[in-house]
């Protein structure tokens, strides 16, 4: 992920407190008093507690947390459906929290559209009228808005349903209308509040794919709220994890899975199928010792293997491109023959992987071989590191390392 993209939304110390004595509660919060104490003292609930993050242009930014974690409250601060108590929401260099009502309406009408968990469609209007509702609110002529609404409906795969009413459509289709309504406005930012949570698992998965497809074409900045980590991982470029109104961790799916910042995050992560997320890049031993075909002769190779106690090593050429593996026993033969080069014994018929390969994709490759998998750069073929079989099995089975080694030994004995 290149991060020289422009920052689209910058949230600074955003705090939202529910209740009558907000300012008092805010002061206590700044003094570091806990949420529970504040509730006791002021009867105020802290919905969002000093959240700060940046969302890049064109990014799918997922905010995830359990219900009550403040994620829905937070997303509503971005378009001020909920009025933040303190902090800033900077959208394209201007602070939305300071907008007048008129400016705010304009922002909502043109720059940010929202998709809701419960769809929020108007039952007395046709699908076409619903999809064009945002355009109607900002005063566009019927012809123009019908045309754009039609296009948006086409984008979400609802061509031909224009004249029907929401009640005649399934949940998944209704949410497509919700998405079409948001897209028809052609906003820069899409706010999606648990948009797919009310749908059946299969339809949910379809909608996720569809959203990704649409995003591929339109490159919107999307803020997506969910309580489902699998969903977050599937569609999020980056994920922010929230608990009790606090943003606990922000990072890519892998960052979060490999280095959970707290027990809360870890508890989430445990439920996820890591096989489909952990990649070669995470697992590999970087800058692993390798032999250079024209520099290291048999003697040097034996030395290197013994120094790190292995019986095989990867071989690269002068451009660090991966060639294959050599085995200790072969090199020892060469040494006896007094050969100068190890070129003859390089086993080139071995699988190698790119760094974005997942555990699930790598597992089939290790059956029937005894050496680690070399990770190479996609464009150049450059050797990057090794993924050992042990670490793959650990990831796949979630067994402890000791158990895996034992299993492997048993397997070898057989």
């Amino acid at each position: 992920m290149s991060d020289n993209r422009k920052t689209k939304i910058k949230v600074e110390d955003l705090t939202l407190i529910f209740g009558k004595r907000k300012q008092e509660a805010l002061k206590l919060l700044e003094q570091g008093v806990s949420k529970e104490e504040i509730l006791k003292k002021t009867k105020c609930t802290v919905g969002v507690n000093r959240a700060s993050f940046e969302i890049k242009e064109g990014e799918v930014f997922v905010i995830m947390g359990l219900s009550g974690s403040g994620k829905s409250t937070l997303i509503r601060c971005l378009n001020r459906l909920n009025e933040p108590t303190a902090g800033k929401v900077i959208f394209d260099d201007h602070d939305i929290t300071r907008d007048t009502n008129k400016e705010l309406l304009e922002t909502r009408r043109t720059e940010m559209s929202m998709v809701f968990q419960k769809f929020g469609l108007l039952p007395h209007r046709t699908i076409l009228e619903n999809a064009g509702f945002g355009l109607e609110l900002r005063g566009e002529e019927k012809e123009a808005r019908d045309e754009r609404a039609k296009k948006a409906l086409e984008t979400v795969g609802l061509r031909g349903y224009e004249a029907q009413y929401p009640a005649e459509l399934s949940g998944g289709m209704q949410q497509r209308v919700g998405l079409a309504r948001a897209l028809a406005n052609d906003p820069e930012v899409l706010l999606m509040d648990e948009a797919f949570s009310a749908l059946d698992p299969l339809i949910k998965s379809d909608m996720q794919d569809e959203l990704l497809e649409i995003q591929d074409k339109l490159h919107k900045t999307i803020v997506f709220i969910t309580h489902d980590l699998d969903e977050a991982i599937k569609i999020g470029d980056r994920i922010a994890i929230m608990k009790d109104g606090v943003v606990e961790q922000i990072g890519t799916a892998e960052d979060i899975l490999t280095n959970p910042a707290s027990e809360y995050v870890e508890a989430f992560v445990e439920k996820v199928d890591r096989k489909t997320i952990i990649t070669a890049e995470t697992l590999m031993f970087k800058k692993h010792t390798a032999l250079e075909v024209h520099k290291d002769g048999p003697k040097g190779a034996v030395r290197k293997m013994r120094s790190i106690a292995v019986d095989q090593l990867p071989v690269v050429d002068e451009h660090k491109r991966f060639l294959g593996h050599v085995w200790l026993q072969d090199v020892l033969e060469l040494e006896k023959e007094q050969a100068k080069s190890i070129e003859k014994v390089i086993n080139t018929n071995v699988p190698s992987v790119y760094k974005h390969y997942t555990v699930e994709e790598m597992l089939p490759l290790i059956t029937g071989i005894r050496h680690p998998l070399a990770v190479i750069e996609e464009e150049t073929g450059k050797f990057l590191g090794l993924v050992t079989q042990t670490s793959l099995i650990i990831e796949a089975t979630r067994f402890e390392k000791k158990e895996v080694i034992k299993l492997k030994e048993q397997a070898n004995e057989l």
Binding site: L81, T110, S113, G120, L122, E136, L137, R138, R181
Partner: protein
């Protein structure tokens, strides 16, 4: 026991003050209502009864049958009410109460229109502001539980006898359901739809006219139906202050102990009530 608090006297004094200080306003209201009632009466009575019966019959048929009016399904839906309307109205005419029935209908129409003109905005206000709701609700409770006859006293006081006090008393009596059901309908609009409106930059006015009122339509129309029926039930009482129509015949029947008169005019009111109720219900269903 002597009265400790002479509340009635204070009310009376208050009403006196109102009567004197705003006499111009009462006069104007009287003029507008009398003129409207007379104008509608004259117009309806100028039209041959058979034309009116035909129009009302078709209206009733169309309200039920809708777009299917000229198909068999529509006929099935609309025919029974249409038949009832024809027979009922012909019966009223044949009993010789056509003029009174028109007068009663006019009173009901005028009172209903005024009640809706006041009641729907009040209902909207009560739905949107908790404070307004807190004020309006007890007033409505008061209006509904106070015996209807009591309204006649200030009505006469302000407007003397005739159609106007009848209309005013009827308005007061039939206003509450318009307010209540409008407010209820708007408050029952799902929060998520309203929120979606806000998220797409709807102004308060757009929320009201594009979301709340259309979604509350069925409930509001149920309120309209209630208003009409209450207005009709009030016309007998209104006849005590000189309002003309079937109600005054009923009143004569009571005073003269005339069973025939009382029964015929009472039956006429029932027929009108059923027709108005079925038509408005059919409209509300759509």
């Amino acid at each position: 026991m002597d009265k400790l608090i002479d509340l009635g006297k204070y009310i009376e004094q208050g009403i006196n003050v109102l009567e004197e200080s705003l006499s111009g306003l009462w006069g104007a209201i009287d003029d507008v209502i009398s003129w409207t009632v007379d104008f509608l009466n004259d117009t309806f009575l100028a039209i041959p009864f058979i034309v009116i019966i035909a129009l009302v019959t078709f209206g009733a048929y169309y309200a039920n049958a809708g777009k299917l009016a000229f198909k068999k399904e529509g006929f099935k839906k609309g025919a029974s009410l249409a038949l009832f309307v024809v027979l009922g109205l012909l019966l009223i005419w044949a009993m010789g109460y056509w003029k009174e029935a028109i007068q009663t209908t006019t009173l009901v129409i005028v009172a209903t229109l005024i009640a809706l003109l006041l009641g729907i905005p009040l209902g909207i206000w009560a739905a949107r502001s908790n404070m307004a709701n807190a004020i309006i609700r007890p007033v409505l409770d008061f209006m509904q539980t106070m015996p209807a006859f009591v309204y006649l006293i200030p009505a006469i006081f302000f407007f003397s006898v005739g159609n106007t006090p009848g209309v005013i008393a009827t308005v007061i009596f039939s206003l509450p359901p318009a307010v209540r059901l409008t407010s209820l309908g708007i408050r029952n609009v799902p929060e998520d739809v309203i929120e979606a409106g806000h998220a797409f930059g709807a102004t308060d006015k757009q929320i009201l006219f594009k979301i709340q009122l259309p979604l509350a339509k069925t409930t509001i129309l149920a309120g309209v139906n209630q208003v009409i029926l209450l207005a009709l039930s009030m016309v007998v009482i209104a006849s005590m202050v000189g309002a003309k129509g079937l109600g005054s015949i009923v009143y004569q029947g009571i005073q003269q102990n005339d069973i025939a008169k009382g029964f015929e005019s009472g039956l006429g009111i029932v027929v009108l009530a059923i027709i108005l109720d079925r038509i408005t219900q059919a409209v509300a269903k759509k």
